[in-house]
């Protein structure tokens, strides 16, 4: 119901080239399938530990920890688990398999002028696959969108453009030093992508508003100014939330971002209300 107009199917492509410490889809960062472990279901029977041929699993502080270096995805532990608390996230699918799933809801897209959104991770990292998916979607007459961090080479986007109706692109920070420091990469590529997109395809710029990262009036205003300076008409602010934290546990990852409280939508409305957004159409929240 989110990620673009109308009713849509969102296809998540695993793998990302930015590492945002607040990421709410941590399972989408790695390009590989991952083992997910639901600690709340686990009865600590030890069967997974005993059965693992690589001896990759051990009991630590009441949870079965899997050593991701030793694990080779043989899935033995998943099969022996009596309570189904382990599963693999991510699967290899062909273009045809993806399209078959997407097309199941064709009538909903037509009725509501919706379509398909390719998200991630960062979908442009699988550029050829994404290209095929978009081309097939267009052949089926679907409205197409991608959700991107903007951090790929322009040539990648350029090739996709003929098959794209909408680009949802993040701009997280205007200051390159902070961008580098927190996300690990420069914002130059993102800014270049924005510039190139401007005027070529319908684009919605999205700003995740993250406390202690970009939530001052000045920081947000700088972002708005960049967007306003290009030929974009819409900007959407998304509030920081912490619903993803439990997934970190399940993936055996650490949630390192220090803020443990979601940003209330009312506070975000207040923050954005103080900005000079000029001619931009502003949306808040999903």
């Amino acid at each position: 119901m989110d990620d673009g107009p109308g009713i849509r199917t969102t296809v998540f492509l695993k793998g990302c080239n930015q590492v945002c410490p607040w990421c709410h889809n941590p399972e989408s960062i790695s390009p590989l399938p991952q083992l997910f472990y639901a600690q709340n279901l686990c009865v600590k029977c030890g069967k997974c530990i005993a059965s693992c041929p690589e001896k990759a699993i051990s009991l630590e502080n009441g949870r079965c920890v899997t050593d991701s270096f030793r694990c080779n995805f043989c899935r033995t532990c998943i099969e022996v688990c009596p309570v189904n608390c382990r599963r693999v996230i991510g699967a290899e699918m062909s273009v045809r398999q993806v399209m078959e799933t997407v097309m199941k809801d064709e009538s909903y897209y037509r009725e509501s002028r919706g379509g398909v959104t390719f998200s991630g991770g960062e979908p442009t990292l699988q550029a050829d696959f994404l290209f095929d998916l978009l081309r097939c979607s267009k052949e089926e007459g679907l409205h197409t969108a991608i959700e991107t961090n903007g951090n790929s080479d322009w040539s990648v986007y350029d090739k996709l453009l003929p098959y794209l109706d909408l680009v949802l692109i993040d701009l997280k920070h205007a200051d390159d030093a902070i961008h580098r420091d927190v996300i690990g990469v420069s914002n130059h590529t993102v800014l270049k992508t924005l510039k190139e997109l401007s005027g070529r395809v319908e684009t919605e710029v999205r700003v995740p508003v993250i406390p202690q990262f970009n939530d001052t009036e000045k920081q947000l205003q700088d972002i708005v100014d960049i967007v306003g300076g290009l030929c974009f008409s819409t900007i959407r602010f998304l509030p920081y939330h912490t619903f993803g934290i439990s997934k970190y546990n399940g993936l055996g990852m650490q949630y390192e971002y220090p803020v443990q409280q979601s940003l209330p939508i009312e506070s975000l409305v207040k923050l954005v209300g103080a900005l000079d957004t000029d001619r931009l159409t502003v949306s808040i929240g999903n």
Binding site: M1, P82, D105, S107, G114
Partner: protein, 795 residues
């Protein structure tokens, strides 16, 4: 901020401690039992007349509509003619229940006890029980001496209540008024042929009808006098004027037809309450209020005597008046229903006789009123067809958010019409359908009352199949399989054995229906309701007799269809396709409730098989086939009342209890766990999004079960947080209906709220949720049901 009138009325009603009112029981006992030789129908009409002449009437300080069923708001009358055993048993505990308490003074307890004693052995329950024992013999089983079942595969209706399940003909009544119905009955009485063998029966019936109508007139007159009297004592000039207007209206409608919206609404309310006084049958529904009140609304607008705000206010008063009427049930039933529902259902939207959309400005006004009253009673549903404007679906979704408790529910108008025309109902009549009770489809005035003889536990029948006919929890084998299930080499062969069990049990249904229908007609006819049902005066036969030109439909509940589909699909996948386990191994595993490592591994494999609700054709097609089995087979039987046995997949709230008598099943369900609610996917097994649920559910041929199906969906409130999102859901509903889905109802409530309400019930006393075909206060639901709601997948 000052309270609105609606809020004041609500507060006034809720101030009352529900109590038991003995006025009705006393008068009915005297009139019906004093002179047992008089025709039963006359005794009942006399009781009705006398009660209406003597009962306590009251007017709330802000009431704009008048009428009551018992001596105080939320007080409940007793209906001893239907059953007294449970009243006797529970008399000391009504006031001590943990929820839904009813106050009874010691003096009243004595009176009630005395009344019950007089009825002992003379009630509907007793007669049905006699016939059931006589015709079914040893087949009849019971876990507690009263609630009867047949080897747990079918539960039999409790028979503690009236007939009900009907929508009266308000449209005609509003056009003609009471007097013309009375004249009709009197004319018919004079025209009776004295030489007809049935002359005396017919005469008694018509005299009873006349007496009832005169009682109704008396009731309206008494309300009129009370309003005038109250006006005389009223110091506030505005309120005095309101009361005098009410007095005028009640006087007028006591005989004449209404002319204004206000008069029409008062007449509908009065008749609705009078029907609840005559009998306490469930699901006495109100039909298409926005359609039949529309001409009056237009009349008033043209004459400049009504505006929208006033119409909405009056309608809100109407809804609250329906809430005010209360019902006392046995604790077991009360507990699972989470309240004292009368299942009064109102239908909005729909289509006209000519197939055009019937949505009108009143439809929108009534939706708004729903959001303003926020009560769980009455039930409001919207009928959505191909020609319904999208705007109306959006308005309905917005009303759903404003109401916050699952209303309105969404019904597919086109499928409903298809259901009815397929069983031979005239197209114009079919287009006039209204929702009755939870999901049943009825033609107002033309459908008679409906008995619900049995609830078929389809998953239990499949369990019997897997044990070759043996029921592990009762130890009984009624129908030994003709071949052993382990020998099956395909899922079709299992289905054949399943059908064998079904074929053994189904023929009991007409026997049970006969027992119940015969008793209603013989012991508790309802002449007042009959007068408001088409053809009955002309036939000079009570509506409980059935037959005649009326459409008659006996309701057969089929529970657990999604579990049966999941079970068959899992067996197909693991035993026949992958050959991972043998049937024998799986049956061994369910026998011990999957205990032990090996069996647990089997359970996991079963759980991982495709499940209904994910748009997976293999399992959905099985569901489609399973859905068709009972309705097709029931065509071979004829109810005593004529018409047909119409099926429904709604489970009311029995899916929890049904599950308790079934051991582990090969869909991965552990022993005793609840079965799927209605036609919703098994909680937690729908993982492919809401469109996948819609797609799966719309694959069954809904029109085959003309008493409908229910799909419960739980949304997180964020899914409705903007107009844009509401439009998306409106589109989704539209496509679901285009694909052939019949019904969907939504709870817009977060899991966190439900969990918090369990922990701090005192802070959530007014939290209303949709349960089955009705809504209830969440904190008044029994824990098992609260947990069920939490377990539903959230979108």
């Amino acid at each position: 901020m000052a309270m609105t009138r609606t809020q004041r009325i609500k507060a006034y009603i809720l101030e009352n401690v529900p109590e038991i009112c003995t006025e009705r029981a006393r008068i009915y006992t005297e009139e019906c039992l004093r002179f047992p030789a008089q025709p039963t129908v006359i005794g009942r009409a006399r009781a009705f007349y006398r009660f209406l002449s003597e009962m306590t009437l009251y007017i709330g300080p802000d009431d704009l509509l008048l009428g009551n069923t018992a001596s105080k708001p939320l007080a409940a009358s007793l209906f001893p003619e239907y059953a007294v055993n449970w009243i006797q048993e529970e008399l000391d505990t009504f006031g001590a229940r943990p929820r839904q308490r009813f106050f009874v003074s010691e003096g009243k307890k004595k009176e009630i006890s005395n009344i019950c004693r007089q009825w002992d052995g003379k009630t509907h329950f007793d007669r049905v029980d006699y016939t059931l024992k006589d015709t079914l013999g040893d087949i009849l089983m019971s876990s507690d001496g009263t609630h009867r079942n047949i080897n747990q595969a079918m539960s039999i209706e409790h028979n503690q209540n009236g007939d009900g399940h009907i929508i009266p003909d308000y449209e005609s009544l509003l056009l003609t008024g009471f007097n013309s119905v009375l004249v009709h009955a009197k004319t018919k009485l004079m025209a009776l042929d004295e030489n007809d063998a049935e002359y005396l029966d017919q005469r008694a019936f018509l005299k009873a009808v006349i007496l009832c109508l005169e009682g109704a007139e008396k009731y309206a007159e008494r309300l009129s006098c009370l309003a005038k009297e109250t006006a005389g004592k009223e110091t506030d000039a505005n309120r005095r004027a309101e009361l005098l207007e009410l007095s005028r209206i009640c006087h007028k409608i006591s005989t004449q037809k209404p002319d204004t919206f206000y008069e029409a609404l008062q007449l509908v309310l009065m008749v609705h309450l009078l029907i609840q006084i005559e009998s306490n049958g469930h699901s006495i529904s109100l039909g298409r209020m926005d359609s039949y009140l529309y001409p009056f609304y237009q009349h008033d607008l043209q004459n400049g005597i009504l505006d929208d705000a006033r119409a909405q206010q009056l309608y809100e008063c109407f809804l609250l008046k329906c809430f005010e009427a209360n019902k006392l049930r046995d604790w077991g039933t009360t507990e699972i229903l989470g309240g004292n529902q009368l299942f009064q259902t109102i239908t909005l939207g729909g289509q006209t006789e000519d197939g055009e959309t019937a949505v009108n400005p009143l439809s929108y006004l009534f939706l708004k009123a729903l959001g303003n009253t926020n009560m769980n009673i009455p039930t409001v549903v919207v009928s959505i067809g191909k020609k319904t404007p999208l705007e109306f679906i959006e308005a309905s979704l917005k009303a759903l958010v404003a109401h916050g408790g699952g209303m309105p529910a969404f019904f597919n108008d086109d499928v409903a019409v298809d259901m009815l025309t397929r069983i031979g109902i005239d197209l114009k009549d079919a287009r006039n359908w209204g929702s009755m009770g939870c999901s049943e489809v009825r033609v107002p005035g033309k459908h008679g009352t409906g008995v619900t003889p049995v609830y078929i536990n389809l998953l239990k029948l499949l369990e019997l199949t897997l044990y070759n006919g043996w029921n592990p929890s009762t130890g009984k084998t009624f129908c030994l399989a003709t071949r052993r299930v382990e020998e099956c080499t395909s899922v079709d062969q299992i289905i054949a054995l399943f059908q064998e069990q079904i074929d053994y049990y189904l023929p009991f249904i007409p026997k049970i229906e006969r027992a119940i229908a015969e008793s209603y007609f013989t012991l508790t006819p309802t002449p007042f309701l009959s007068a408001l049902t088409d053809y009955r005066i002309d036939m000079a036969k009570d509506v409980s007799w059935g037959r005649g030109p009326n459409y008659n439909d006996t309701i057969i509940h089929v529970h657990g269809i999604p579990n049966v589909a999941n079970t068959l699909s899992a067996l197909n996948e693991l035993v026949f396709r992958k050959k991972q386990y043998t049937l024998k191994q799986i049956v061994q595993a369910i026998k011990v409730d999957f205990e032990g490592q090996k069996n647990n591994a089997i359970r996991k494999a079963l759980l991982n098989c495709p499940k209904f609700g994910n748009d997976i054709d293999d399992v959905d097609n099985l569901c489609r086939s399973v859905y068709e089995i009972i309705p097709r087979k029931m065509k071979a039987f004829l109810p005593l009342r004529g018409g047909q046995f119409g099926c429904t997949s709604q489970t009311v709230v029995m899916n929890v209890i049904d599950g308790e008598v079934i051991g582990a099943t090969p869909d991965g369900r552990k022993s005793g766990e609840a079965i799927a609610d209605n036609l919703s996917p098994v909680p937690g097994t729908d993982r492919n999004g809401i469109t996948a649920v819609f797609n799966s559910v719309s694959k069954v041929d809904h029109a085959l079960m003309d008493n409908g199906s229910i799909l419960n969906i739980k949304f997180h409130p964020s899914a409705f947080s903007s107009d844009e999102k509401i439009v998306k859901i409106a589109h989704a509903v539209r496509i679901y209906f285009q694909k052939g889905g019949f019904q969907a109802q939504f709870n817009v409530i977060g899991r966190e709220t439900l969990l918090s309400a369990q922990q701090h019930p005192e802070q959530y006393r007014h939290l209303v949720v949709k349960v089955a075909g009705f809504s209830a206060f969440y904190t008044e639901l029994e824990r098992r049901w609260q947990d069920q709601l939490i377990a539903r997948t959230e979108y």
